[in-house]
Amino acid sequence: YLEDVKIQARGQLQAVESRYKAQKRITQTFELEILDLYGRLEKDSLLKKLEDEKTEAAE
C-alpha cells in the first residue's frame, strides 16, 4: 500500500511537470511574437524619423 502511495505521488508530480513544460512552450512562442512586434515597431519609428529628416532637409 505504501508503494502505491509513492507511485501515485510520483505520477502527480510528473503530471504537473509536463503541464509546466507545455505552458513554457506556449510562453516561448509568445516571446518570439513579442520580439518580432518590437522589431517592427522600432523599424517603423526609425523609418518615420528618417522621413521626417528628409522632409526637413527638403524644406
Binding site: 513554457k24 510562453t27 516571446e31 513579442i34 520580439l35 518590437y38
Partner: protein, 292 residues
Amino acid sequence: MAEDPQRNFRSVYYEKVGFRGVEEKKSLEILLKDDRLDIEKLCTFSQRFPLPSMYRTLVWKVLLGIIPPHHESHALVMKSRKEQYRDVYHALQVIRFIKDSTPQVEIFLRVHQLELGKLPHNPSFLLVKDEIFLAIAKAMEEMVEDTIDCYWLVSCFVNQLNNKYKDSLPQLPKILEQYLNLEDSRLLAHLKACSAMSKLPYNLWFKKCFAGCLPESSLQRVWDKVISGSCKIIVFVAVEILLTFKMKIIALNSAEKITQFLENIPQDNTDAIVSKAIDLWHKHCGTPVHSV
C-alpha cells in the same frame, strides 16, 4: 517604568554570546537534525529565543513554507523555486518591464506582482502597498545574502502580513494604546493632549513591520517573532520605542514634531529596545513553553 540599563545590557550580551546562547543553539541544532522538521517546535523555539544568525534563513524558509518539512525534498523544491523566479524574471525582461539598471528590490516587486497577476499599467506610479513591499525588501536584502532566498522570503513574508495578519494589523493601534496605558499612563496622556495618538507612524511600525525604522541587526530579532506567528510583538516594540524616548517626546508639543521624530529615531540603542520589547511581550503574553 524604571529600568536597570546594566541588567539589560547584560541580558542582551548573554543572549548573543553567552552560555544561554550556546545552549539554545544546541537545542535548535537537535531540532534541525530531524528528517522531518517539526514546524510547531520550530515556532515555539523562535517565539522564545533569538535565532542564531547561521540558521535564521533556513528556519524562516521552513516557517514561511518556502521549503517543506522534509529535508529530502529541500533540493528539489528549491530548484523549482529558483526556476520559477528565473522564469518570471526573464518574462519581465522580454516585455521590457525591467532593465539591467533596475534596482534589485524593484525587480522583486515586479516578480511578485506578475505572480499575482497584478502587474500595473503604469510602472512609475507606486501605491502605498508597493512602498511597503519595497521597504520590507530593502531590509530583507540586508539580512539575506542569496537573491533567490531573499525574493521568496520577502514575497512570503508580505503574503503573511496580507493574509494571516490581515485582520490583526488594524487592531494594533488600539492594543498599543492599552499597553501604553498600563506601562506609562502619563506618557499616553501627553500624546493624547497633543492629538498625536492618531498620527503615530503606524504604517512604518505595523504595515512595514519596522522596516526602515530599525537597523537590520535589531529588526531580524523582531521578525523572528512575527514569522513564527506573533504579530503582537510589534506592539511591544512600539511601546518600548515610546518609553525609551519618553523625555524627548514629552519635550515635543506637537503631533507633527512627535511623528517626525519617531519616524527617524536614533539607531544606536535599538538592540536594547528590542530586548526590552521582547521581555515586555513575554511579561504580558506569557512565555511560550518550549520542549525539545
